[in-house]
């Protein structure tokens, strides 16, 4: 006789919910601690050797794009939480979830835009370039996932309305 799997769909959804809440908490910590962290970073080699950029300038040029990305990230996390709560209610292939996935993909693209701004304004160019690449790729992935769920929604509606 097969043993029942520990990782049921419900437990997996619950784990993802917990991860999203942790990520939201992490985003809040980042929002609060960003400027003190940048101040500390500015005094640490090799960032302490940056020419022509004062601490205030570095904070503005680096913190603003980062806060833009954080806002996009928090929005995406809130949408993911609502999506997961719907999945837990077994309302999966719905028009509202398609809208949420579309919005999450736009959040990814917005994060990419803010990261690209950081590439041009901040001394931390490699970090912002990497963030732009990751965010753009994930935004694209979410776009494809949205298309998949949208097709699944149509198939479900066809099945629901097959008498």
């Amino acid at each position: 006789m097969d043993r029942p799997h520990f990782w049921t769909t419900r437990r997996s959804t619950q784990l993802t919910l917990v991860a999203c809440w942790i990520a939201l908490g992490g985003a809040l910590v980042c929002a609060v601690g960003l400027i003190p962290f940048l101040s500390w970073l500015r005094g640490t080699p090799p960032w302490s050797n940056l020419p022509d950029i004062g601490l205030a300038q570095m904070i503005i040029r680096t913190a603003l794009p980062l806060y833009g990305q954080l806002a996009g990230g928090v929005m995406a996390l809130i949408l993911l939480l609502r999506l997961l709560l719907d999945i837990r209610r077994e309302a999966i292939f719905t028009a509202s979830n398609v809208t949420r996935l579309r919005a999450i993909s736009w959040c990814g693209l917005a994060i990419m835009v803010f990261a690209l701004i950081g590439v041009f304004t901040s001394p931390l160019r490699p970090v912002f370039a990497l963030l732009a690449l990751i965010a753009g790729f994930l935004g694209l992935v979410m776009r494809v996932v949205k298309n998949v769920i949208d097709n699944a929604r149509e198939l479900r509606e066809d099945a629901d309305y097959t008498i």
Partner: protein, 74 residues
Amino acid sequence: MGSINVHLAVLMAARRIGVAELAEQVGITPANLSILKNDKARAIRFSTLAAICQALGCQPGDILSFDKEGNAHE
């Protein structure tokens, strides 16, 4: 593209049979029969169509017709 029209409401009125009674005879829920009766269905199983024809004493062509000018359900 044309559409398929469902004339179940007309046939039910002619046979003087209600949704609940016909649904029970056909073996589907009254909610699903209402979806069919109100032309909201996207597809019908042959088994369901056969059960309806049996219950109403009719042919599939009495229940369904093709409208060349109609819009298909999306």
